[in-house]
Each structure stands twice: as structure tokens, then as C-alpha cells.
Subunit: 173 residues, 4 copies
Amino acid sequence: MIVLNGGSSSGKSGIVRCLQAVLPDPWLAFGTDTLVAAIPSSMLAPGAGLELAPGGAVIAGSQFRAAEAAWIKGIAAMARAGARIILDEVFLGGAEGQQRWRAALAGLDVLWAGVRCDGEIAADRELARGDRVIGMAMSQAEVVHRGVAYDIEVNTAHAESMECARSIAAQVR
Amino acid sequence: MIVLNGGSSSGKSGIVRCLQAVLPDPWLAFGTDTLVAAIPSSMLAPGAGLELAPGGAVIAGSQFRAAEAAWIKGIAAMARAGARIILDEVFLGGAEGQQRWRAALAGLDVLWAGVRCDGEIAADRELARGDRVIGMAMSQAEVVHRGVAYDIEVNTAHAESMECARSIAAQVR
Amino acid sequence: MIVLNGGSSSGKSGIVRCLQAVLPDPWLAFGTDTLVAAIPSSMLAPGAGLELAPGGAVIAGSQFRAAEAAWIKGIAAMARAGARIILDEVFLGGAEGQQRWRAALAGLDVLWAGVRCDGEIAADRELARGDRVIGMAMSQAEVVHRGVAYDIEVNTAHAESMECARSIAAQVR
Amino acid sequence: MIVLNGGSSSGKSGIVRCLQAVLPDPWLAFGTDTLVAAIPSSMLAPGAGLELAPGGAVIAGSQFRAAEAAWIKGIAAMARAGARIILDEVFLGGAEGQQRWRAALAGLDVLWAGVRCDGEIAADRELARGDRVIGMAMSQAEVVHRGVAYDIEVNTAHAESMECARSIAAQVR
């Protein structure tokens, strides 16, 4: 299993697609976006669900956390059933987010990869993409990496997605 | 757990969103589309992966079946971990597809719902949507229901998505 | 030229794609959505641009109206240059919106088609689509038709997109 | 008017959105993608329409050229009606494509900007995006610039979208 962690607009999704292309075996790609697409739109709201605060901060409520807990167990079960999985994650709480996944993935072979991008560059890319809430990139650039331990780190401000993917793929046994 | 089965362009996704809106608890929505989005694009090809034959038939190869087997176990694990899940499925092999899920979901409370739509109407809707491969709707309209047992069946040729959702929701305990 | 006018989620886009499929000549499809996609995101805001008020009402400011005036002249020029055009419009101001287009299209052969849908059905479809701001369908269902004169009217609450398209196509010389 | 010309996946769209953000006045963005979205799907086929040849080459037939001729006149009319327009173009035929636009835009103030990107980098980005036909980027990287005269050229292999946009914006009077 490969877990990528990085802020919004740091370039994780591009790296995931490049990883799927360069790795010799078929790998499935899931992530925060998969879970967010699965929740009812009523949960994309302040309160118990997933709240998008002014300025781009994302706040996860208790209902979202409950859904996420089941989601994490499900992904772990897929990996235990033999699927190779690339996870595209945003650890909103930094180390705490990694801890949640680490506990569920106990016993599995996991490569932890940090995807960094300077906040100002990520913010410009967010604007260039045109499909993201402005502010998320800057708000998440640093905080998602706080206290997180990685096997490898890449920086998309200095390397193309494919180059980052090749560095990560080289660590996969 | 609610499992919806129906052909392409039969209107399942609309029913899923209406179900999420009318059911009092938060339900997560996953389905065939989630899995297809997760596989590498190299698997969307003739051979071992998922092949789209001329005319709209979809053929699942061994690599796709292996990924699907892990996916099914993962969804079952999410349900066992307490998540309420609506599954938006296309049983390409009819009864055989249901059997795969039934085995994995043993012991869980499952509502099986068939979403029917006349092949010609589904084909016209496929054209009206403009984002689907032409031919899939007609090709799947009948075959996905072959030998499948349902708790409830709805027909989107005669009822709006919301009306179908309300009928299904009325069966949820 | 064919001008379709109807509220959000009344089913215009599906009819447009069916019209393109059933009409013997190639027709180009443009509309409100094309213009909205072209404006800078800074214009999707209260004030001079295009404002989405709570409840789903859409308010067009002076900057948006200026852009629209140029847009209308451009579409008219395309039609005068020989292009067959289907326009997918939302006359927020009813008759006033038609008047703006009628003036620009003077001398061209135009078929005016009204696309109606009961507000409650449109609101349910808006929810089923899952990609629209909730409230727009109900807010626009009646008001966009106020004082507008049509050559033909269709009602998507009682007929499929393809059936509506065939009725409209039958009026095209 | 600003005309950007560059191959698929060279990064034009990102530059367009950044230009819209940094330019003080409201600019409308149109381009090849707008026209392609407007044509009937029957025209996305070998023959008279727009053909996507194996390997990623795009071949424009007579029907597509006729639609494009009307489109060009329409955009010119919008500009003459006072709209500030950023055009996101792919001159498949190089100088010939520029000539078509230059004739229509006679008398207007036009800034011609070339958006370059090394073919191999564009091809990797095409793969990273995951929503484009593989091969278009490499196929178009050089050919679209053949014989085209520019007021300014930017290279997205060496500069972020925002940086390129600022260089171009500095040339706008």
C-alpha cells in the first residue's frame, strides 16, 4: 500500500495517475475525494458533517469522522484481500490522521509518501485549476504534514508529477 | 445496506442521490463507477481488464475481477463497521453478480432493489446525457436483471427518481 | 436558429443533445452555460456580476449584462455567417430576455421553443442531478416564461427529452 | 484581445484562468474547447468532422472547418461589440490557423501569445491529468507553432501558470 499525504492542490492526484502508469502491477486509487463524493450533500455543511469554513479551512465533524472510521476499515480490508492500493489523503490533523490509518493498516506493508508544495505556489495552482475553493491550498500546505513521518518526500514545486512518481515507485518493493 | 441494480442510463444515480436526501440517517453511496474510477487506465482495455466492446457491451477480464473481489470485501467491511451504504451496481452477469455480493454481505441486513427502464427509453436518455458510450444502455437493459431476486423493483420509465427513491426508502427499516 | 427557453433543471440540455442527433444537418449548441463558463470567477459574485442569491435566485448585474450584450451580437454574427445554432437559454427576466435576443436576431429565421417543467418536479430532478445549486429550479420554473411568445412548447414532466426534441425538430424547415 | 496558441496539455487553460484573475478588467475566455463542446457528437468522427487519429493527431474535416469559420466571425463580432476576449487556441495547421484568425480580427488590437512546452513534459502532464487522449500532447507540441508570429512567448516547462500569466498581462495595454 502507498499512502500519499499532502494539501489541496499540492499535485497528489497527478502523481497517483503517474504511479498507476509506471508501476508494473495494477494499483487501485482511492482517497479523501472518494469518501467526500460518497457522503450525502447534507453532510457537506457546518455541524456534524464536513464544513468548509471561510478562508478555505476544512473542519470534520463527528458524523464525518464516523463515516471515515468505517471507510478506513474498508480500505484496510481491501488491502488485506490482496488489492494494491494507492491512497490520496489529506491529513487535516497531521500526525493524528496518520495515526488513524496506521492503526487500521497494522501488519500491512505501507509506504508513506509526503507530497509537499510551497503554499504560495499551491495557491496559484488552485486558482489556475479553477475548480477548487480558493484558500484550501494555502490553508493546508503546512498543517497536514505536522508530525507526520514519511518513508519518502517529494516536492511538486521543484519536480513534475512524473518525476515525483518515479521517485516514489523506486521505493516500492 | 441497500443494493440497487440496473443497466447504464436506467437512472440509478439519480435515485441514489434522492435516497440520500430522503433517508433520515446519513448513507454513503458507492458503486461500480467508484471502482472503475479507481482502476488504472491501462485496465480499461481489452484483455485482462474492463473492455468496452463495439456496440456497448462491457466485458470484465480476470484482472478486473480480482480487483472487484477485493472491492466487495472492503465494502462489506465498511458495512460491518457500522456504515449505512447504498450500492449503485450493474450486475453484468445477472444472478452471478448478485451471488458475489450476497456471499460477501452474509449476516448483514440488505435491501435488494431492481431499477428497470425500457431499453429504448434508456438508449434515448443515454443520448440525451451526452457523456456515455452509446449502446451501453440498450445492451444492459435486460441482461443485468436475469435471475436476480429483488425485495423491490422500480421502473424509471414510469416514475421520477424521487418517486422511486421514496418507494425504496419505505422498505428501509 | 432554434432558441430554447426554460428554467434550470427543466431538461433543456438533454433536448439540445437529442435535437443535434435527430436533425439532419449539423447544428451548434451554445447557451447561458457557455457564457457563464467564459466569465472570470470574480464576476460570479454579488454586485456587478452574476449573483446567486440564497434560495436559488440568480441576479444579473451591469458587468454581466455588458458581457451578455457582446455575446448576443457574436452569436447573431455566427448565425449570419451560416451556422445553424441551437441556443439553450434562461430568460431570467422573461419577455425582456426574449426582446434582447429578438432585436439581435432580426432578419434571421428563428424557432422559439418553450421548455416547461412543473416546479416541484424540476426541484426533485435538481436534487437527483446532484450538481446544481438547490433552489434554482423552483425559483425559475415559472418566471422565465412570463410574457414570452413561443412557436412551440414542450413539457418535460410529461415527455422524454427525445420526444420533445422530435416535436421541435418537426417545426424546423 | 489576447490569443493564446499552444498544443494540448501545454498549460493554456491554467494561464487563461490566471490572466482572468490578474487583469484588472473582466475578460471573457473562449477557445477551441468551446467550439468542440458545441458541435454535435456525430461530427466527432472521421470524415467531414473532427477526427482523432490513432496516436493523437487531430484532423479537421470540411464540416468542422465550416463551423469554425462561423465561430471565428462570431468571436470577432463579440470583440467589436466591446468584449475583452482571451482566446485559448490550438493552431493545428500552424501559420494557416493564425492567418484565419488574423483576417477576421483585422482592425482589432490583438496580443499574440505562444504557449510552449517541451513535448515530453506535456506528454507526462497529459498522463497526469487523466482526462485527455494520450498522444495529443506530443503530436501537437511543435507543429502548432510552425510559422506563427508572436508578440510574446512563454514556456510552461520552466514557469508556473501564474508567472506566465503575469508576463502576458504586462503586455496588455
